[in-house]
C-alpha cells in the first residue's frame, strides 16, 4: 500500500513536471515581455461620486471605453448606487491583449474575474485577431455566465418582447439566458438609381442570375466575407455537431470560390469608370449610420438571403454577467441601460440636467437589438428616411437565425479571403476540432 501510494505520488509529480515543460501558448509569442504584466483596470472616479469598498468590474473592448464611462456614470447617478465601478479595458494591441486575456481566463476559472462583460464578437474583419471569448456560441454552454432568466422574470419593467426575439435567442440555451446580444448585422446592399434591381431574392445560387454586372460582382464578393450569412445554421453547439455533411460543405465552398473568381475576373477586365458607384452596404463591422448616410431616398435595400430563403444575422456586440459575481442585480441594471431605446439609438440620455452620450462605438455599430431603437435611430439625423426604415424593418422580420461571430467564422473567412485554394476536407476537420475542444 505504501509502495502504491509512493508510485501514485511520483506519477503526480511527473505529470506536474511535464506540465511545467508545456509552454503557455498565450505567452510564447511574448517571451521577452514581462510575465507580470497586469491587467489594466481603470477606475471611474468622478469627483462627486460617493463610493463604497464594493467594486463592480466591467470588462470592455477598448473602443467602448468613453461610451461605457458615460453610461455607467449615468447608472450611478440615476440609481443612487454607491458601488465603485472599474473598467477592465482590453488593449488595442494584440500582444498586450493576449496577456490580459490569459490573466482574465485564469481568474474566471478560479471563480473570480470581471463581473460584467460588454464585448464585441470575434469579428473576422476586425483588426484584432483575438477575443476573450473566441466563440461565444460555445462559451454560453461553459457555465461561465449567469442565467439572466431569473433577473428578467423578476423585473416587471423589463419587457423582453421589445427586443428582436431571433437575435436574443443567440444568447440562450435550453438551460438559460446567458448572454444578451446588443447589436447585430446582416449583409445588405443599398442599391441606387444606376443599378438594376434584382428580380428575385438574392442568395448564393441566384447571384449569377443578377443582370447588373457590377451588382453581380459585388454580391459575389460578399459571399466570401460573410459565409455564415449564406446558410441558415452550420453548427449545433448543444449537440456539438456540424449540421451539414462534408460534401455539402465542399459544394458551398466551391460555389463561393467560383463567385470569388468571377468577382476577381470582373475587377480585372472592367475599367473603373464603367463600374457603378451607386452602391453601399451594411454588414458586420460597419456603422449603420455611415452606411445609410450615403443612401438616397429612392435606394432599395437588397439583403443576401441564406439558402433557406430567410436572413441569417450575426451578433456584433453582446453583454453577459459572470456567474460568480456578487452584483448580478447591478450588472443587469447596467445591461438594461445598454438596451435602453435612446442609448441603443445613439441619442444618449439626459438626467439631472446632464447629458450622457452613447453615440458611435456602442450605439451605432450595426443594428440595435431593441426594435424601438431601430425606428428611433432611423428617424434622427442623416438617416431620416421612411422608405429605408420600412425596408430595414422588413428585412429584420425575415431574420430566422442569429449567432455570434466566432473563431469558426474567422477560420472560414481566412481560408476564403486569403487563400487561393481551399482544402475543404482540412477546413471541415478544423471546424469539427474547434467545436469539440
Amino acid at each position: 500500500m505504501k509502495k502504491l501510494f509512493s508510485i501514485i505520488m511520483s506519477v503526480a509529480m511527473l505529470l506536474s513536471f511535464s506540465a511545467c515543460a508545456v509552454p503557455n501558448m498565450a505567452d510564447t509569442s511574448s517571451d521577452n515581455e514581462s510575465s507580470t504584466t497586469n491587467v489594466e483596470i481603470e477606475q471611474n472616479d468622478e469627483e462627486e461620486t460617493v463610493t463604497t469598498e464594493e467594486t463592480l468590474t466591467i470588462c470592455i473592448d477598448y473602443a467602448m471605453k468613453s461610451e461605457m464611462e458615460s453610461i455607467t456614470e449615468y447608472y450611478s447617478k440615476s440609481s443612487g448606487s454607491t458601488i465603485n465601478i472599474e473598467f477592465l479595458v482590453l488593449s488595442n494591441d494584440d500582444d498586450e491583449k493576449e496577456l490580459q486575456i490569459s490573466q482574465i481566463q485564469t481568474e474566471i476559472m478560479s471563480g473570480f474575474g470581471p463581473d460584467l462583460f460588454v464585448l464585441y464578437s470575434n469579428n473576422p474583419k476586425s483588426e484584432s485577431q483575438i477575443s476573450l471569448f473566441s466563440n461565444m456560441d460555445k462559451s454560453i454552454y461553459s457555465n461561465i455566465f449567469y442565467d439572466m432568466n431569473s433577473l428578467i422574470e423578476s423585473d416587471s419593467d423589463f419587457d423582453l418582447s421589445d427586443y428582436n426575439q431571433t437575435v436574443i435567442s443567440a444568447g440562450q440555451t435550453d438551460e438559460g439566458f446567458y448572454a444578451f446580444p446588443l447589436f447585430y448585422s446582416f449583409p445588405t446592399f443599398f442599391i441606387g438609381d444606376e443599378c438594376e434591381i434584382p428580380s428575385e431574392d438574392v442568395n448564393l445560387y441566384t447571384i449569377e442570375n443578377i443582370s447588373d454586372d457590377y451588382l453581380r460582382s459585388s454580391f459575389s464578393s460578399m459571399t466570401r466575407y460573410y459565409f455564415s450569412s449564406i446558410i441558415p445554421q452550420i453548427i449545433d453547439y448543444d449537440s456539438e455537431e456540424i449540421l451539414i455533411s462534408q460534401e455539402e460543405f465542399t459544394a458551398l465552398i466551391e460555389k463561393v470560390q467560383d463567385l470569388k473568381q468571377y468577382n476577381m475576373d470582373y475587377r480585372e477586365t472592367t475599367e473603373e469608370e464603367l463600374m457603378n458607384h451607386d452602391l453601399d452596404y451594411l454588414a458586420s463591422g460597419y456603422s449603420i449610420q455611415n452606411a445609410f448616410s450615403w443612401c438616397g431616398e429612392a435606394d432599395v435595400l437588397v439583403p443576401l438571403y441564406n439558402t433557406d430563403g430567410s436572413i441569417t444575422a450575426s451578433v456584433i456586440t453582446y453583454s453577459a454577467i459572470n456567474r460568480n459575481t456578487e452584483f448580478c442585480d447591478e450588472c443587469f441594471e447596467i445591461i438594461k441601460i445598454l438596451l435602453d431605446e435612446n442609448i441603443q439609438a445613439g441619442l444618449g440620455i439626459t438626467y439631472d440636467e446632464k447629458y450622457y452620450s452613447a453615440n458611435y462605438y456602442i450605439s451605432s455599430e450595426s443594428i440595435p437589438v431593441n426594435n424601438n431603437a431601430v425606428v428611433t435611430m432611423m428617424s434622427y439625423g442623416l438617416i431620416n428616411s421612411e422608405n429605408l426604415t420600412t425596408q430595414l424593418l422588413d428585412c429584420i422580420d425575415e431574420i430566422e437565425y442569429a449567432s455570434f461571430l466566432n473563431d469558426i467564422d474567422r477560420l472560414i473567412f481566412d481560408s476564403l479571403v486569403w487563400q487561393d485554394e481551399v482544402d475543404t476536407e482540412y477546413l471541415y476537420k478544423q471546424i469539427n476540432t474547434l467545436i469539440h475542444e
Binding site: 508510485i7 501514485i8 505520488m9 511520483s10 506519477v11 503526480a12 509529480m13 511527473l14 505529470l15 506536474s16 513536471f17 511535464s18 506540465a19 515543460a21 508545456v22 509552454p23 501558448m25 498565450a26 510564447t28 481566463q105 474566471i108 476559472m109 478560479s110 471563480g111 473570480f112 471569448f133 473566441s134 466563440n135 460555445k138 462559451s139 461553459s142 457555465n143 461561465i144 456539438e240 456567474r323 460568480n324 476537420k429 478544423q430 469539427n432 476540432t433 474547434l434 469539440h436 475542444e437
Partner: protein, 281 residues
C-alpha cells in the same frame, strides 16, 4: 528531538511539493467531477468523463498520444541501449561522441524547429532532393508523415540523454562478472542477456521515466511546427488540454488531465511491476 532532524530537513521540500503539486493535483481531480467555477461549481458525478469519452477530438488526441508513446518510448530505449553499449565498449576512445549525442538535447527548441523546417518543409532539403531525382514530393509536416517526423525529432533530440543515463548504469556493473562469464565460455549475446541485462533494469526504468518526461516536453516542438491545430496525426492530448484552457472549459480540461495522469500511472505501473519482478528473479 534528534530523530525529528531528518523530517525538519525535508520539510521545506515536502511543503513545496504539497503546495505546488499535491494539493493542485487533488484539486484537479475534484474539478473533474464538477461543472462551473468557484462558488457556482456544482457536482456533476461522472458526466464530464462520459462527455469526454464521447468527444471525437479527445479520442483522437488520446489515441495519438498513446500511439506516440507506444512507438517512440520503446524505440528510444532500444536505440539508446545499443548506443550506450557501443560507447561503453570503447568509452575511452569515444568521449567526443558522448558530447555529440548530447548536443541535440541542449539545443533550444527554436533551433530544433528551424532544422525541422529546413529539412522537412515543402521546399526543404528532402523535397528538393526528391524533386531533383524526379521523385514525387510530399508535404511532410501537414500529412500523415508528420507523425513520423515528430517521432524522428523526438528520438534525435533525446537519445543522447537516455544514452548517458544507460551508460551510467553500465559502468556500475563490475568487470569481474564479465570476466567470470568469459571464463565460462559465454558469448557476447549471452553476456548481454545473463550479465548486463539483469543488472540494468533499475537504470532502464530510470531512462524510461526520463524519456516519458521528454516525450511530453516534445509538445513544444510539435506546437512550433504545427501550431495550436496541427495535422490530425500529431494532434496530442496537450493540444486538447491547451485549447480547452483557451476556451475556458476547466472541467473538461481537468478531466482530460486526469485521463493523462491515469495513462502515465498505467505506463509507470506496468514498467514498475516488470522491473520489480525482473530484479527479484
Amino acid at each position: 528531538m534528534k530523530k525529528f532532524n531528518g523530517y525538519l530537513l525535508v520539510a521545506p521540500l515536502f511543503l513545496g511539493c504539497l503546495i505546488f503539486y499535491i494539493i493542485p493535483f487533488f484539486m484537479v481531480i475534484g474539478y473533474s467531477f464538477t461543472v462551473g467555477y468557484g462558488k457556482s461549481a456544482t457536482f456533476a458525478g461522472l458526466e464530464n468523463y462520459s462527455d469526454l469519452l464521447s468527444n471525437d477530438i479527445f479520442l483522437l488526441a488520446f489515441g495519438n498520444t498513446m500511439r506516440f508513446l507506444a512507438i517512440a518510448l520503446p524505440l528510444i530505449i532500444v536505440i539508446s541501449y545499443v548506443i550506450a553499449i557501443l560507447l561503453k565498449e570503447s568509452a575511452s576512445k569515444n568521449q567526443f561522441f558522448k558530447s555529440i549525442f548530447l548536443l541535440p538535447y541542449i539545443m533550444p527548441v527554436a533551433g530544433v524547429v528551424l532544422i525541422v523546417e529546413l529539412v522537412f518543409a515543402s521546399n526543404g532539403m528532402i523535397n528538393e532532393t526528391l524533386y531533383t531525382l524526379g521523385l514525387p514530393i510530399k508535404d511532410w509536416l501537414y500529412s500523415d508523415s508528420s507523425f513520423w517526423v515528430v517521432v524522428a525529432v523526438y528520438i534525435w533530440k533525446n537519445t543522447g540523454y537516455s544514452t548517458i543515463i544507460l551508460i551510467s548504469g553500465l559502468v556500475t556493473i563490475p568487470q569481474e562478472h564479465y570476466d567470470a562469464a568469459s571464463i565460462d565460455g559465454a558469448s557476447h549475446l549471452q553476456k548481454f542477456f545473463y550479465v548486463t541485462n539483469p543488472q540494468m533494469w533499475s537504470t532502464v526504468f530510470l531512462a524510461v521515466v526520463f524519456s516519458l518526461i521528454n516525450a511530453f516536453k516534445c509538445f513544444r516542438e510539435i506546437f512550433l511546427i504545427g501550431g495550436t491545430h496541427p495535422h490530425d496525426s500529431i494532434y496530442m492530448l496537450q493540444h486538447f488540454i491547451n485549447n480547452t484552457f483557451e476556451n475556458m472549459n476547466y472541467f473538461k480540461l481537468s478531466t482530460a488531465s486526469v485521463f493523462l495522469f491515469l495513462v502515465i500511472l498505467g505506463v509507470f505501473l506496468v514498467f514498475y511491476i516488470f522491473v520489480s519482478r525482473r530484479e527479484r528473479s
